[in-house]
């Protein structure tokens, strides 16, 4: 029998806490019977819900935690209140101790990132973690990072993000050498941020073994799926992500109101119902639920706070895939190769226009 995959869950995170986390875990367990869960949360709240799912209960251990981090808690506050003892902290800590291979929480992003950084620390040679999102495209899916872990990134940090995202694309899409683009703006006059230009030059001059650098991409390339991995600093990345989500909702609203407007359109809707169902499934934000924290000594997955059990299960599926496909190992490998290559290339690069 294959090795089991140990996953830790913060049962108290998200708008609905254990009411979503536990049923979500059940759904994921049916799809991946080799998961073993460590569930962190208030026993009084979680136990009665867990009792409803005997299969899940058999595959899980429930660890009681006194403290739950509220959705509006500020990161510094969360660290003060919740370090060592909150369900959020302990689910992350399980990754540090090796009891879990990945942690999943629907808790608030700022608190989760602050705790993850504090507990797991950034990897050697990585200055800043990033949040990677899976972006549905016309061609399939891409990875976009950073979508909001930090604001701003220098050229070296952008290259780090490229390596992290590249490893994730190898793990998630099974692509040997994923294509990577740097998000930029195309107005000739300005030619983009200095840091983006420098990162582009470095990636061109010193090609990486683990990825294929494709140059700059623009905002509309995100939906096209022009590259497997889009790299950006977190401010623009977060705005792009939320703008796309907002636009999708907006068009969904247009479509609904257009279809319900006349008798003819309502009849048309009935005929084309399967097509609309397909479209709805395609646009379902729950399907791509899960931001992956990369660059730390361990993987943490952030689920949307407002998602339902199906959405939370998708975040667990993502966590499962990341472990099964050895994301951490791939990242470590790629980083070693990159830094080895950097030392080898150091002399000619220093002679260049660095």
């Amino acid at each position: 029998m294959a090795k089991t995959i140990p996953i830790s869950l913060d049962a108290m995170g998200g708008d609905h806490g254990a009411e979503v986390v536990i049923p979500g875990a059940e759904i994921a367990l049916v799809r991946h019977p080799d998961i073993r869960f460590q569930i962190f949360g208030n026993e009084k709240v979680v136990r009665p819900i867990l009792d409803r799912y005997p299969r899940l209960k058999a595959a899980s251990s429930l660890i009681h935690c006194d403290v739950a981090i509220a959705m509006d808690t500020k990161p510094s506050q969360a660290l003060r209140q919740g370090r060592w003892r909150s369900s959020m902290w302990r689910s992350i800590e399980a990754v540090k101790t090796g009891e879990a291979s990945v942690a999943v929480s629907a808790g608030n992003t700022g608190a989760l990132m602050a705790m993850s950084k504090f507990c797991l620390r950034t990897m050697a040679n990585i200055e800043r973690p990033a949040i990677a999102a899976i972006w549905p495209t016309s061609r399939g899916e891409s990875i976009v990072l950073d979508v909001g872990a930090t604001i701003g990134a220098d050229a070296q940090q952008l290259i780090d993000f490229a390596i992290l995202g590249g490893a994730m694309a190898r793990a998630l899409f099974g692509i040997e050498k994923p294509t990577v683009g740097l998000l930029n703006i195309g107005v000739e006059e300005v030619k983009g941020l200095e840091e983006v230009r420098t990162a582009g030059r470095l990636l061109r001059e010193t090609p990486l073994r683990s990825l294929s650098y494709s140059g700059f991409v623009e905002g509309d390339d995100l939906g096209k799926g022009t590259v497997d991995v889009v790299v950006t600093e977190g401010f623009a990345g977060n705005i792009a992500l939320k703008t796309a989500e907002g636009t999708a909702k907006q068009i969904g609203g247009y479509l609904r109101s257009a279809m319900s407007r006349t008798l003819m359109s309502r009849i048309g809707y009935l005929f084309a119902k399967s097509a609309f169902d397909r479209l709805r499934e395609k646009m379902d934000p729950r399907k791509v639920n899960g931001g992956v924290f990369l660059g730390l000594n361990g993987i943490v997955i952030k689920s949307h706070g407002g998602t339902d059990a199906e959405g939370f299960a998708a975040a667990i599926d993502l966590a499962y895939d990341m472990v099964r496909n050895e994301l951490t190992h791939k990242i470590a490998q790629d980083l070693v190769h990159y830094h080895r290559g950097r030392y080898a290339a150091a002399a000619p690069v220093l002679e260049g226009d660095l």
Copy 2:
């Protein structure tokens, strides 16, 4: 009879040049018979096309220009080749001399902005021009700026953009005191760019007569239409704009493929055709064609380069509205009030935490 509105056109700009510009002008003229056009371009190319539209011909003067700026010309190159004598330059110059009240070009953005800055110069007290886009929202339309004139903006420049965008909202939407939001990211830990935070504090502390400051907005507020004017620096603004355009195209593609997939869905499509037509019209990018260059001594409208006659006509409509509703006057007024207010408020502000 009301005063005529003189509009200058760069007939050589865009992917299709005069073949789109001239029919576009005809469409706009039918809607606004009080426009008088000054058309700048190569006479040999433009004259035969103009001859096909007797009504337009009667309302226009054609001014021959030897030089046309190609779509891939770099800004510096465009200035070298095209200053004083290109159709792009001369259409802008007509605004400077007062022969036209506004210029419209589908030429390349970088070149058009470089020439506009060089020819018209920025307004007193305005350091940087901005490009304002009209953003279709679930509630109607908003104005978003800057969408790519320059990268980065300090707090004062963001406030300038707020004033420029506010004046445009008054001119375009007829709103007495438009609501203005600063585009930011919501991750608590980081709380957004320093400059955005400072601009927000200043707008809160010293309320402007011409606008109502609503605080920070996020990427998904763009499609919702949470505020009338969204202010951002040009890098994030350009990425947001192109991401939204890309997402709309992507979903349009999903919808088309879903509707054509089965016989039932094709029948459904026929029944609901009027609803789909409505949706298509709602999502038609030609309808909101036109980036408005703000902050210069004169207004220049940039049409999409790849648009058709209908789209170019929409850019002229926008130009017409901007003049009819006295955008330049409104901006000047708001700036005077702002700076007067600043002097008055200078003492207490200096005692504060500036």
